[in-house]
């Protein structure tokens, strides 16, 4: 059976509960019947599990974005390189043509 302290500890470990939210919990737990206390604990556990699921989802999205970014940056770099190489080649061609013309 959960105790007031164990429920409080659980609530405090859920990072995204705001101080005001936590204060509400801190207020009610002292007056709860054992049955209600158990229910509150179950709810908090569910909340905590959902928190983890949500965090996992968030992590996945952020990692995807990060990898997209790397790809985007590499593409950009490749494009720039190609443009520069092309420009250099054009320059070389022009030089060669000019040399030929002058021969």
């Amino acid at each position: 059976m959960p105790t007031v302290d164990s429920v409080l500890q659980l609530a405090r470990s859920i990072a995204l509960l705001s101080p005001a939210q936590l204060r509400r919990i801190e207020t009610v737990v002292h007056f709860m019947s054992d049955e209600d206390l158990k229910q509150l604990e179950d709810m908090l556990l569910k909340l905590q599990e959902d928190e983890v699921k949500q965090l996992e989802k968030e992590l996945e999205v952020r990692k995807q974005v990060e990898s997209e970014y790397k790809e985007y940056k590499a593409d950009k770099a490749r494009t720039t390189l190609q443009a520069k190489e092309k420009s250099a080649r054009d320059e070389d061609t022009q030089e060669a043509e000019s040399l030929l013309n002058n021969m």
């Binding site: 470990s13 990072a15 995204l16 509960l17 705001s18 101080p19 005001a20 939210q21 936590l22 204060r23 509400r24 919990i25 207020t27 009610v28 002292h30 007056f31 709860m32 209600d36 229910q39 509150l40 709810m43 908090l44 556990l45 569910k46 909340l47 905590q48 599990e49 959902d50 928190e51 983890v52 699921k53 949500q54 965090l55 996992e56 989802k57 968030e58 992590l59 999205v61 952020r62 990692k63 995807q64 974005v65 990060e66 997209e68 970014y69 790397k70 985007y72 940056k73 590499a74 770099a77 490749r78 720039t80 390189l81 520069k84 190489e85 250099a88 320059e91």
Partner: protein, 683 residues
Amino acid sequence: MATLGSLMDAMTGGSEEPKTTAEKAEKIRSELSLCPRVEDFPDDFVEHLEKNNKDLYDKLMKLDESYGVWPETVTEFNNALGDYLNKPVDQDKLAKVLRGNHWFPNRERIEAAIDNKKKLTPKDLLDADEASSERVESIKQVTENLAYYFPDLYVPEEALNSFKKKYPDKFKDLAYHLDGWDFNPTSGSWDLNPMRNPREAAAAFNAIRINYIQETYVNSGEKSLAVIERKFGDKIPGLQRTTADLRSEFNSLMAENIGVKATETSLKNLKDLVVDLNEFAEKEKERPKPTPGEGDAGEPTAPAEETPTAPAEGATEQKEVAPDSLQGRFESSKKEMAEWKVKFDAYLANPPQDMKGRREAFMALYKEFSDKKEVYLALQKDVDTTTENAMKGGLTDEQMPEELKTLVSEIRKFNEYVGKKLEIPLKREMNKISPAGWDDLREEMGLKPVVERVSKDADEANALMDQMGIEFQGNRLVFTKAGKSSEIKSIGFTGAEKVEIKVKGKDKLKIKVKGMDGKNYTFKGKTWKEIEEDIDKSDYPFGRRKVLVGGGVESNDGEEVEAPAAETPAEASTEPVAVTATPEATKVEESAFEDVPDEEFKMDDGPAAPSDTFVDADEEKIGTPTGIEEQGETLSRKAKRQAKKEAKKNEESPWTKIADSVDAADLPEAEDDEATGTDTPTT
């Protein structure tokens, strides 16, 4: 017997999977803290994502708006909690709780209700409490709530009080947000909303605390230290400790107090030290006793005039100054900067709540400042030219016009002000809002060209680089096969405008770097070792990285210390084909982005401090990035050497780079000096 795996685990902190849900959440949270946020990416990428991967873009936006909460569960939870709140309180339990001295709002009312046998609910207790704006806005509650997010932080009550007094509305908003409430524009009331992130408010309060410490103690201490240094040098009469000791103690206390582990004791120590410093600064400089008959015997000497740290307020002009004269332009610059500071202070006191708005407001201010600084730097160049011309005309230092000497001196003092009061706070703010770093922000604003790697014989150069084990990583050229025989692992192009890679005679790689200091640096060799020798021989002042035994990293000259690379997205680029890169933000800059300002802001004599260019109050030194030289010792070779040394010392100050890039743009490119591997300076 320990297996290799277990040994590895022991070394790396173990690979144990978290057992409880709480541990799991903690682990993911720590991974998430390393992930970049939307504002960390350049805008062009975000736009690209929106166009090309709308689904991912929407997901990302949703995350950053809601901080990844789970509406259904929360709603359910809130409803259930509401039910519990409405159940009558068990009188016996309540009495027991009250006996246990548990904190409760309106304790008197509760006790009265027990006496009256009224059926109280927990909601009654909370309503009385939550409806009271006094509680949410009370310093006590804000302090308690802050401790929820920064458990180790000591927040001086005066810091919050002073902010509350100055900006009551802003304080109220922040206090409510910190407590977990959100303003509902429809109902016009504050609603409890676990979906908002009170951490932002906590961070804002922490920034308020830091500002308070900065304004109340740090600025005053800095000022006194500057006076002490100028007045007494290193030895303060009647004191065992040297000025350097005092500065070092001051810097360390300052760093401690602006961090999140600030304690009441550390603040008290800083306070005490500042009081001492103020006293020392007022101390008379000992001077030989006047001989009888010299007059004024026994009268105290007037304290040395302090370096003005701000444009003289209300100062009246002694005589009419032509607006287009050097003095007139200086006065105008001073006025402009002071006006800008008013705007910037207003912004800092009340920055826009959303990051986008904050960045926009900041950028506008930054651009405005850059424009003003450019005008100011142009003035400094003209002052330089005037002085040089006067010298060429045969004037000695003593024969220089008094106005010019005074102006030079005033400019130096004003530089100190600009550095301390404008640029440092500006940079600190930039670091807060732009994790991608200084250079990205500048690039974004079109203030500085990106470093350009030019290679006409790209294929050959790339092949040779591959063969030599050299590759571009972000903005560094890294020797990937660095072993014991190699001391310099990489060179960075933090202060470079252009990097040119060439192949010389089939098997020799030539790296030509055009620095923002207007100089060209050339390193070449068939192996990294040979290139390394060239780097060693040169006075290349930018990021070269030396690998130390034991894994530490130090610069070649021991001045610039960089942490091993852990790239932010804006810098991350491990593709060897990358040909353009923004000059990388140093790790110091990156860490400064966190809520806690780091040592970068220490106004010490360390080479990495951005304030270096300006903070130096030592009259013997030359303090301006453009080489305005101190009267008396000016314009000599010695002064120029010193200026060069100062410039080198100040390389890591991004502001110096702005100044230098402006200068460098006007200068002709120097030819290679093949013999030394380093070009003759053009400045």
